[in-house]
């Protein structure tokens, strides 16, 4: 059954049609990849799903609920977490605090309790910490726990960002080019980690990715976009042989 469904989604910036009449649906438990040449509208699509942009027309349904009008900060509470193409971490904070910020949607205490640090707040902090440690274990970030983000190499930052998104305990995880800037070895690790997240946590994943190797190893289905339009959806093998997809990448 479908977890996320987009119907006739369009977004234009002035005369530029970044996304044009795109409809697709993602099933529960899938790893769904979006590919396409530069400027195809992949990241824009992500920004539409995470409600950073308002769609010009069309609607998005998540878990049987229309999310086209939901305010941006509510998206995380609904269970959609995302990463960013060039990493958007909280640079001046440690990895641990970054991940704890990922727990923000699970807080149950109010300001007064926090000011006084009542026992309920302490309990909550301990619970958060335990959940964060689970994610750290899953993604092997133990070494970096107390390091400040600004001092970390790029590959680790990418993983921290995935970890932070996982701290939301999302039902749907949006990964925007998770392998960009990673070396082949890190990309290899990433593909195992994506499988782990998908299988162990049961998280549905939508991923924008250029590395076809990674895509075909991890994805259940692939959607190809070009110039804001959907050209094909299918299994990784089908997509790699699809004549329209080849045309979009290689020309006539």
């Amino acid at each position: 059954m479908s977890l996320l469904a987009a119907n006739n989604l369009s977004l234009s910036f002035g005369g530029v049609h970044a996304v044009e009449d795109v409809s697709f649906s993602v099933n529960k438990g899938e790893v769904f990849s979006i590919i396409g040449p530069n400027g195809a509208g992949k990241t824009t699509l992500f920004n539409l799903i995470s409600r950073i942009y308002d769609a010009s027309t069309g609607s998005i349904r998540f878990n049987e609920q229309d999310i086209s009008q939901v305010p941006t900060h509510r998206i995380a509470e609904l269970g959609i977490a995302r990463t960013f193409q060039n990493t958007e971490l909280f640079e001046q904070e440690t990895v641990l605090r970054n991940l704890l910020i990922g727990q923000h949607v699970h807080r149950r205490t109010n300001l007064l309790q926090e000011f006084l640090f009542l026992p309920s707040v302490r309990q909550q902090e301990l619970r958060f910490r335990k959940d964060v440690e689970d994610v750290i274990d899953l993604l092997d970030l133990q070494h970096y726990r107390h390091q400040v983000i600004a001092n970390l190499p790029y590959g680790v930052r990418k993983m921290v960002e995935v970890a932070r998104a996982l701290c939301l305990k999302p039902r749907l995880l949006l990964l925007d080019e998770p392998s960009s800037g990673l070396n082949p070895e890190e990309t290899e690790d990433l593909s195992f980690q994506i499988e782990d997240i998908n299988e162990e946590l049961g998280t549905t994943i939508i991923m924008v990715e250029h590395d076809m190797n990674l895509v075909s190893r991890t994805s259940t289905r692939v959607m190809a976009l070009a110039d804001g339009k959907l050209i094909a959806v299918g299994s990784p093998v089908e997509i790699q042989q699809h004549p329209e997809v080849l045309k979009a990448y290689l020309g006539e």
């Binding site: 909280f90 605090r97 302490r122």
Partner: protein, 358 residues
């Protein structure tokens, strides 16, 4: 170097991370409690002023250092706290109630100012808060029935019931007590969700939003909390200066407050204390210096604000992390002593951030 064996997550949550910290803060506490035995009334008064600055600084630090919103108008909140407190005392309200109301009122005004300020960041926000401070200054000089206009108003002596808080030792302890309480509240806030949400907004609004942080709510909250602390400091300051006039709360005070958090070290509560010591004691230091200078140099008008400005510029260029940042570097030098590498704290530029979505 100290290596701490960690066996429970509580060790990362508690305020004192290890025995050494407990010892040194305890020693500092004892020293502060005993200092009235040693120091003269004049120095106790100066220390009280430092404490008051520090309370205001906690407020501004939460806003500027932790939420990333620059305010050039915090003298206004200081003024609102001071005048409200003085007015309520004159109406015969008891001291604790009056000080609480002054805090809450400035907090409320801060939250209201926060709402239009939500759309602005950086320099635009600084200018908007500056405008607000000027408006408040005008209100103070023209709302004669409440503030006494340019004539100003006298502040009643502080007392709880028949117990007077006016003599310098009692007032010193009052300020110390309130400062400790404020530090405790601020530290608690910073180790919980709301504090983390504030730092998240400082570092990346877009990803804070994606983490489920309500930007408008958190920023308004930060403004409210910040103004509350500053208002509280204002009501203590009212007693310290004894007589309120609009020119006690000029733009220069706002700039001094900002200078305090920048020189102390943005993004740390230690920085607030260092900054307050700096701001509180520098004028005295300059006065002493002035006596030793040749008269031609000592009599230059505007020497003090000039030196303040010069120090701010020098700190921004050579030590953007302020006195606290410098202290951390010195400490790590001695901790790693023969192995210290010169480049440890070298600043690097990173070009990795996503272009901001407007």
């Amino acid at each position: 170097m100290r290596f701490i064996k960690k066996t429970h997550y509580n060790q990362d949550i508690q305020l004192f991370k290890h025995q050494g910290q407990l010892f040194w803060y305890g020693a500092l506490g004892v020293a502060l409690l005993l200092s009235p035995l040693v120091l003269s009334d004049f120095y106790l008064g100066e220390l009280s002023l430092v404490f008051i600055y520090a309370i205001a600084g906690i407020g501004l630090m939460l806003l500027t250092g932790y939420t990333g919103l620059v305010s050039l108008g915090h003298a206004a909140f200081l003024a609102i706290g001071a005048y409200t407190h003085a007015y309520l005392l004159a109406q015969g309200w008891p001291f604790p109630v009056s000080i609480l109301c002054a805090t809450l009122l400035s907090s409320l005004v801060g939250a209201i100012i926060g709402i239009p300020a939500l759309r602005m960041t950086g320099i635009y926000l600084a200018v908007a808060t500056l405008a607000f401070a000027i408006i408040v200054e005008q209100v103070l000089s023209h709302w004669v029935s409440v503030t006494g206009g340019f004539r100003g108003m006298a502040v009643e002596l502080p007392s709880i019931g028949s117990f007077s808080l006016d003599d310098s030792v009692t007032f010193y302890f009052l300020c110390l007590f309130i400062l400790t309480g404020c530090l405790f509240l601020a530290l608690n806030l910073l180790r919980t969700s709301t504090g983390r949400a504030m730092t998240a907004i400082r570092d990346s609004e877009i990803s804070a939003q994606s983490m489920g942080i309500h930007l408008a709510y958190t920023k308004t909250l930060a403004f409210g909390i910040s103004a509350g602390f500053t208002g509280l400091a204002g009501s203590l300051l009212a007693h310290k200066i004894g007589y309120l006039a609009p020119d006690s709360f000029t733009l220069l005070i706002s700039i001094q407050l900002l200078l305090m958090v920048v020189v102390g070290g943005l993004g740390s509560l230690h920085g607030v204390i260092y900054g307050a010591l700096f701001i509180g004691l520098l004028p005295q230091g300059l006065a002493l210096l002035r006596d030793t200078l040749p008269p031609a140099l000592a009599q230059i008008p505007g020497l003090e604000p000039g030196i303040f400005g010069l120090i701010l510029v020098l700190v921004l260029i050579y030590e953007p992390q302020g006195i606290y940042g410098r202290w951390l570097k010195i400490r790590s030098y001695f901790e790693e002593f023969p192995l210290y590498r010169k480049a440890t704290h070298k600043r690097q530029r990173s070009y990795l951030r996503t272009e901001r979505l407007k």
